[in-house]
Point group: C2
Chain length 136, copies 2
Amino acid sequence: MPEDPDTPSQPEMKPRLHGELLSTSLLAFLKNWNAYGYQLSQRLAQAGMPESDSGTVYRTLRQLEKTGMVSSCWDTSESGPARRMYSLTKAGELFLSGWIEVLQNYQSVLQKALGDLAPAAGVDDEPAAGDGAPQD
Amino acid sequence: MPEDPDTPSQPEMKPRLHGELLSTSLLAFLKNWNAYGYQLSQRLAQAGMPESDSGTVYRTLRQLEKTGMVSSCWDTSESGPARRMYSLTKAGELFLSGWIEVLQNYQSVLQKALGDLAPAAGVDDEPAAGDGAPQD
DNA sequence: GTCGATAGATGCAGAATACACATAGCTGCG
DNA sequence: CGCAGCTATGTGTATTCTGCATCTATCGAC
């Protein structure tokens, strides 16, 4: 399909939860709440997150298990298909807390940029690097 | 590479900034501040973000331009190699503000989960996440 | 038996990424 | 000059990740 000058075939830039956003969201849910994939997938949607592919959720959970962030076991106590119950490991907690600084910086960057949302004291034209004056 | 039973070859789960985290960080920096790739790459590190591959930063910027989020032009006013100056477009601003809701939910999820884990920081506490505690 | 909901997983094509490397302009220095 | 080192932007490529469709399987209702 040739591209017309009138119809820009720009790829959509719609928000989607995956990668580290998804991983950390899952870990966060598991912090105080053991759960299984299907449940987590639904909570994500209920929490107002952009819709995630359930296949990706399951794969992400397995990968988190492979890296030792979570552990799982089958739960057949209830009727219905067996569920793989996940729980956060020590390593997962550490990883999660390590992400806090990253996320806080990230939030800070975004809120500074958006000015009106951040109740910060002063909004400068220059981006304050937070840790100090950037020297070139 | 075969894995030795002695050396746990678990993939490292270190925080890394890419994908939408990287894209939105770059857009945020450009909100009030026109800049070029090398500069942005350094600001990212100065802002406390995990180190990002500069190649990825350049490619991400080009991709953001392709999707109309930013625009660029060469700057040869200073001595040294030419710089590709980027500036945020209207579409970029809209996309950025559209991300705020996602981010607020994301922050809310993490902050709820991390409540007791997070180091004491003067982060604004705004529990407006719609639902309450997760329950079965 | 068939339908739908639950619960988990995989195959595949296309996209994104990390790492190494390439290019080019400029500065300092012996 | 030659040459190293920094600035500034990119590319090649193998690997990984993602979205979508599809598949298995259990259970209750009809």
